[in-house]
Symmetry: C2
DNA sequence: AAGATCCGGAACTACTCAGTTTCGTATAGA
DNA sequence: TCTATACGAAACTGAGTAGTTCCGGATCTT
């Protein structure tokens, strides 16, 4: 887990007297490689050799930095949190539907699909490893759910939807349906799926019927 | 996969000339044991020794009947289809809410939770084994989804909800939220959760507001 | 250039587990 | 009772992998 050495040795660690600096510059490559392999083969299928090969590193380098496969995986999953939604740059189109539709960007879909594949590979481990469960929740699930929560709360503040809406359930809804669709049904999660989900479930659930016969997002959404 | 022998040997198989009949009476125990271990440790964590020990059988007996671990698992998952909802004995209370609430029985919740644990253990395998994916879908997800579809269709036929409701999405909704809650959020899926889901998401989504302030199911449901 | 440190590669150990083989026993039919 | 068969137990084989060790070379600092 990229843990620092104990305070006792730390003075030694932080004073590289001579030679090359302790840069650990290969860490990002290794973590990325671990995520790739994880998405492709799952936790049990992933071997340290695969990760090393993918990162063009030596197995020894991995073990110099992480004490075990489990710790490497936890670190890799945790570092996924970077590069997610900025809470300050969420869409703000003036309508809930516009905001939700604006969240559907090719990059977001692709990123979400990758995270779900990783989640699938971790599933059986997650049920038995609380630390991994927490890290995965914080890195994969929470960012998107909290983004949705913000959009819904804004809609309530605008008076667009009832203040009694079950925000927590609704924030999880799109993610849970997407996970279900990808992992269980093995069907693609694309723009059409999300639009149908928004218009067929989410908006009806908050009391906003379909805006304009579902054919086009008439709600002036600046989606791209 | 409990495949019969090829037609050529079948005559031999079905004519046990002497000695004990080919009863394979241990099969159900072994399949049950496999499901238990699967739920507890996942596909990769499950070993043939564990299954044999749990079923008080010998490893050799397993291999006499199934050619490999993969085939045993597929058979075990497939045989879960038995003992699910009878399409003829679904609740029929006269209202959609009554029907949905009547589906929440302790046994159904427990059974569902077990299936989800099994699903979690199969997740990473499912993405890479189409046959297993299909078997799991047919045995675990389809029965419940189709039960919900029937209830929703009845509500449409009664004129209780709009015929434009997105039945397919709604039928999957409770299951996808339950999977999400159990596997991702690691929170309990109990009666309260389902009630809140029905009143906070499903019914609003089909245009039926909360019936009586959510405090009590005033819809005359004969649930138990 | 010299010295210290990190790296990639490869060989190695120890262990787990899928699948096989063997053998003594229990059981059902003749 | 005799015999064929299925069974449980245990030993065994072979492959794969987590984790370790060692070494030559690359790179940075002085």
């Amino acid at each position: 887990m990229t843990r620092d050495a104990s305070p006792l040795e730390e003075t030694v660690e932080e004073a590289p007297k001579l030679g090359r600096k302790r840069d650990h510059t290969r860490d990002p490559d290794i973590l990325d490689a671990a995520l790739e392999v994880l998405a492709e083969t799952g936790y049990d299928g992933m071997t340290m050799e695969m990760v090393a090969a993918r990162a063009k590193a030596g197995k020894a380098t991995l073990y110099r930095r992480w004490p075990s496969k489990g710790e490497l995986v936890i670190d890799a999953v945790a570092c996924m949190k970077r590069g997610d939604f900025d809470r300050d740059h969420l869409p703000d189109t003036g309508t809930l539907r516009g905001d939700l539709v604006a969240m559907i960007k090719p990059h977001a879909i692709e990123d979400g699909a990758r995270k779900m594949r990783i989640m699938a590979g971790l599933m059986s481990m997650i049920s038995r490893n609380p630390e991994l469960a927490e890290v995965a929740r914080a890195a994969i699930v929470e960012p998107r759910a909290s983004a949705n929560r913000i959009l819904l709360q804004r809609a309530i503040d605008r008076g667009e939807i009832s203040e009694h809406s079950d925000i927590d359930s609704l924030a999880m809804l799109s993610q849970s349906m997407a996970i279900y669709r990808v992992l269980v049904l093995q069907k693609p999660v694309n723009r059409d799926f999300f639009i149908q989900l928004i218009d067929g479930v989410v908006l009806p659930a908050v009391g906003l019927g379909r805006p304009l016969a579902t054919v086009d997002g008439g709600a002036g959404a600046t989606d791209t």
